[in-house]
Structures are given as structure tokens and as C-alpha cells.
Symmetry: C2
Subunit: 319 residues, 2 copies
């Protein structure tokens, strides 16, 4: 599926950072950045640009803040085939954290938001575009929104911003392909002058399949992460996405190399990928927090594998 409009975004460090408070070493992030550039990925989102008032730098790593001087060191000496992005949470970031584009190596700012925070998101997106960056707005937890509110928010994005793309984000890994069709089509109906982006989680092993479905329906901004590293069951694996996209500019080998050297060793400290607790959360359309907590119990705690009790608890909390 070679379509020149498609942009592939690696967000390994940004989404993976939700599992370790963004505490990746500089060397790991530099190796991943270099590999993603060598592979000709279009955009790499290296972390958050969130407020130090809301996140303590003593607890959270460099990649929760992505200070401009850190990013200059990160990118120094690496050919920038790949544009650099950071994410701001609508409810955890402030406009002052963005310098003018001329003073920064950042190219794109992605605003993550719940539908209810759309006005904050628009303010931050417009702050970014006014300062010279490209921007996107990414609607999180899309499986929990009221459609009337989503419709109104999409209309606002179309009319009140200059973002290049607007994303549907399946934070809970709850969507099936038919839901993806429906939502991509809805986004396209409102967003006449913007691209549609997609970001899926793998709680039900559907992140890659849903990305393919979205590609077929003409979504053009596609998020993936190396070996799927990301919150809970993780994301659409970038290496798989390269297999489906036939754009000859992509080079899979640098991705395979860095997965073996840098990403697999992270499994010692971060648990991501398919598991029964994540599957239960996805199937019930729930936040993965309780599943993450269950999996953080000691190895020999029998509650870790008492999936019947976990299911019953999760299902009853639905009531």
C-alpha cells in the first residue's frame, strides 16, 4: 500500500514512557532516534513537553519534558531525515513551555486531549502553530466519548485550528475494525482540510490490524512503536507496519537492529505486550490501570494469574 500522503510516526519513547515515567537513558533514546532516522520514518515523537509544575523532574525522566537543550544534544550529528515531534497533554501543559520554532529543533507538537478538554487543546494547538510548529490534536479514549460531543469537537478542530492532522486514539484497545471504519469516516466528514490520524493499543491484538483497516479507509497519519512498546499491551508494532506499507523509502533493517539491541532488553524492567489482564480490560472497554497494577504484583502472588477473579471484579465495576 504505497500512498505518498502517508506519514508514519514512531512514538516508542513517548508512549513507552507511560510505563516507566519516561525514565529511559539518554543512550537508549539516542540509539532509537538514530535508527528511526536511518529507517526513514517520517516523524519521531520523542516524549512529552509537559509542565514541570505538574510532573516532578525528580520522579520523571528527561523525556517527560523534552527540554530544547536536551533535544539539541539528542539530534546533534544525526541527519534529520525524520521530523521531530513532542506531545503536550491538554490538561498538563502550558503554552509558555514552547519556544518559537526558530529556537528549537522540534518540528511538530501533538496535543493529546480528552474530548471534554477540547478548548484547552485548541488553545495549545494554536499556540504551537502560531510559534511556527506543525500541530495535531489527538482525541484520547475515543471508545468512551459521547458522539454528540465528539461531533462538536471535530467541527471546532476543523474551524478553529490549523492542525495538519486530527487523531482518533484507542487508549483502551477496545475497537474492532467496524468501529475503526465508522470513526475514520466520521472524522473525514468533519475534517475537510485536515488529515485523519490513528493510534491504536494492542489489548485485543488488534492494533496492527486496525491500523491496516484505517489505511484502507484513507487515514494517512499512522502511529507505531518499536516492538509495540507502549502502555499496557502496547501499540501497533512499527516493524509490522513497514511490512504492509510498500513505500520503497522505508528501510526495515535499522528498526530490526535497534529492537534487538535496545528494545528487547527493556523487557527486564517494563511489561508490555498481550496478556490476559490487558485482554480483559480491552474487551470490557476499560482503562488498563487495574491490569497494570495486577501485573506489578510479585511473581509468586497467586492473584497475578487468578484471571477469573480479575474478570469478575472488572465486570462488576462496570455496573
Amino acid at each position: 500500500m504505497f500512498r505518498p500522503q502517508i506519514k508514519v510516526i514512531d512514538c516508542t519513547i513517548r508512549d513507552g514512557g507511560l510505563m516507566n515515567n519516561s525514565n529511559f537513558t539518554f543512550e537508549t533514546v539516542r540509539a532509537i532516534y538514530a535508527a528511526v532516522c536511518a529507517a526513514n520514518v517520517d516523524i519521531v515523537e520523542i516524549g512529552y513537553r509537559n509542565s514541570k509544575e505538574m510532573f516532578s523532574p525528580s520522579k520523571y525522566g528527561l523525556w517527560r519534558f523534552c527540554d530544547d537543550e536536551v533535544l539539541k544534544r539528542l539530534t546533534d550529528g544525526i541527519e534529520p531525515h525524520t521530523r521531530l515531534a513532542v506531545m503536550q497533554d491538554a490538561h498538563k501543559a502550558v503554552p509558555e513551555d514552547l519556544l518559537p520554532k526558530s529556537e528549537s529543533v522540534v518540528d511538530m507538537v501533538r496535543i493529546a486531549t480528552y474530548v471534554k478538554d477540547i478548548d484547552k487543546a485548541i488553545m495549545l494547538a494554536n499556540n504551537a502553530t502560531e510559534k511556527g510548529y506543525q500541530a495535531t490534536i489527538n482525541f484520547m479514549a475515543i471508545s468512551h466519548v459521547l458522539e454528540r460531543e465528539l461531533d462538536e469537537a471535530l467541527q471546532q478542530v476543523e474551524e478553529e485550528t490549523d492542525v495538519v492532522a486530527c487523531y482518533l486514539v484507542d487508549s483502551f484497545g477496545a475497537l474492532y475494525s467496524e468501529d475503526v471504519d465508522y470513526l475514520v469516516h466520521k472524522f473525514q466528514r468533519y475534517l475537510k482540510t485536515k488529515e485523519v490520524g490513528v493510534h491504536f493499543h494492542n489489548q485485543q491484538q488488534l492494533a496492527y490490524a486496525n491500523t491496516i483497516e484505517a489505511i484502507i479507509k484513507n487515514a494517512n497519519y499512522l502511529d507505531g512503536t518499536l516492538y509495540g512498546l507502549g502502555r499496557a499491551a502496547g501499540n501497533c508494532p512499527l516493524e509490522l507496519l513497514f511490512g504492509f506499507l510498500k513505500n520503497p523509502k522505508f528501510d526495515l533493517l535499522p528498526l530490526l537492529g535497534v529492537i534487538g539491541k535496545e528494545v528487547l532488553p527493556l523487557q527486564k524492567s517494563i511489561q508490555w505486550g498481550y496478556s490476559v489482564p490487558y485482554m480483559i480490560a480491552g474487551m470490557l472497554n476499560r482503562h488498563p490501570e487495574a491490569a497494570i497494577k495486577l501485573q506489578s504484583l510479585p511473581e509468586d502472588d497467586p492473584r497475578r494469574t487468578d484471571f477469573v477473579a480479575f474478570f469478575e471484579k472488572m465486570a462488576s465495576e462496570d455496573a
Copy 2:
């Protein structure tokens, strides 16, 4: 997606047996059988009925042969909500290994075949139906067939057998949803009096998604395994499939229970599930054997994670 014609087949022990020479303990198989019955799965395929001339019973476990007396002990005292199936490989089984149905607890015999062995498969399928069993014919390695030969074989299945279903088996985990559409439609065109079945492998994390795609296209025989246990990256996870199918007769809880107690502990001795070597094999439409071999190297062998070298070797062998 509640459709009364749908039949769900658990083949955990049969397909998983390809990873350990069918050497599961009697207790494990009994626990899985009981759970699958309690969950109201339609059919359980508990192993192979292959020839002891071709497989040595000193190397292969009970579930490579599924002797009738073993199956009687296995099923004794468990309410048989679930029909019992065994698999015969067209090129590794003989008709004499099937007793008349009246002397056996087996209900269904599934014949696994390459397209080139279709005449042996038809002979074995007709042997089974004449002896009173239901039968299916399952075309393995469907991503490697010449279409003209497949067309002819499907015509033969329709005209020369009384099988209840005929399967497309994506042994290499190479198919995308568009391929699934195409093949299910082709099978349906030839098989006017039989159901279409699907069996997918998860090398590209598409086994469940492709099963959903096949359901939407009206395939009605659906294979899955507990926690995806099966060759290489494994199969469509049965617990996920239960989430998509809304038939109220299914009970997810017994599956969750037995996964925690019996299936997860098997991870100590069997490596299945998504990995980069399996992904490479699937993407290149290759047998997973080389990937299985790579993953059986000692933990500290650097070749295990040199995915660049593995990819280059696999890609060059394509030439």
C-alpha cells in the same frame, strides 16, 4: 456477532503439540478438555490420529496418536457438551487407524493436507465419513499454493466428499485481511454444500483480526487456541474470539481459569507468541522452522537477537 451456524473449534493441544512433539501430560490435557467443555466450545481437537509407523511413540506423546482408549479415559465423567475431534495428516496417517464411530468417542476427523496431496486427503475423509464420523479437509500452507491447483482441489472436495467443512489454513501467518476476503470468497464459490473454515497463525499479529474478517465474510468454522498456544507465534486466541462472538451459550470464565492454571506454566518449556523472528518469517511468507530454530539457541547466544542477520539470510533464501 451471534450467528447460530458458527462453530468454534479449540485446537490448543493439537496445534500446541507441534511445539513439544505432543508431549503434554494427561492431567494438563484433561484440565483443558474439561474447561473447554464447561465453556461450551462447539468442538475440541485434542490431537493427531497419525500413524505409529511414521511417528515413534517413544519420541512423541499420547496426543500424536490419540488412541481410542486414551480418549475414553480423557473424556470419562465429563459432560460432553463439546464434540471431540482428532486430526489426520493426509501424508502421515492410514485409514486403518480409525475404528468405526460406534466403537469410539471421537465425533470428527479433520484431514490436514497440502493441495498436492488432495487425493490422499479425500481418501482419508471418505474413510472417516463412511465409518460414521463427521470430517473436514484443511488446506495447509494456503499462502504457497498455485491457484489453478487450489481451484481444482476445491472442486474435488465439493464433488467427491461429504465433509462438513473445508478450511483455509494460513500456516505461515502471511495473509492480510484482503487475502482472507479473496480466499474465503473463492472457497465459497466452489463449496456450495460445505461450510468454509479458517485457521490462522499469528506471525504478524493478525490471527484474531483475520478470523474476524472471515466471520464477517460468512466463514462459519473458526479455529482458536487458549492464549494462542500453537506453532511459532501461535493461533487466534480463543479467549479473544469469545469476546467478539456474542453467542450467549459461551462462558469465558472456564477458559480464563485454565489459562492461568495450565497454559501459562507451559511457557517455561514452549516458546510461542509474537517475536521478531516469527514476524520476519510471516512477512516473507516463509515456513517458521528457521525462526523456531533461532529461538531455540541458548539465551546468551548473540545470534538470537541479531535480527538483521536473520532477516538478510531469510530474504536471500527467497531468491
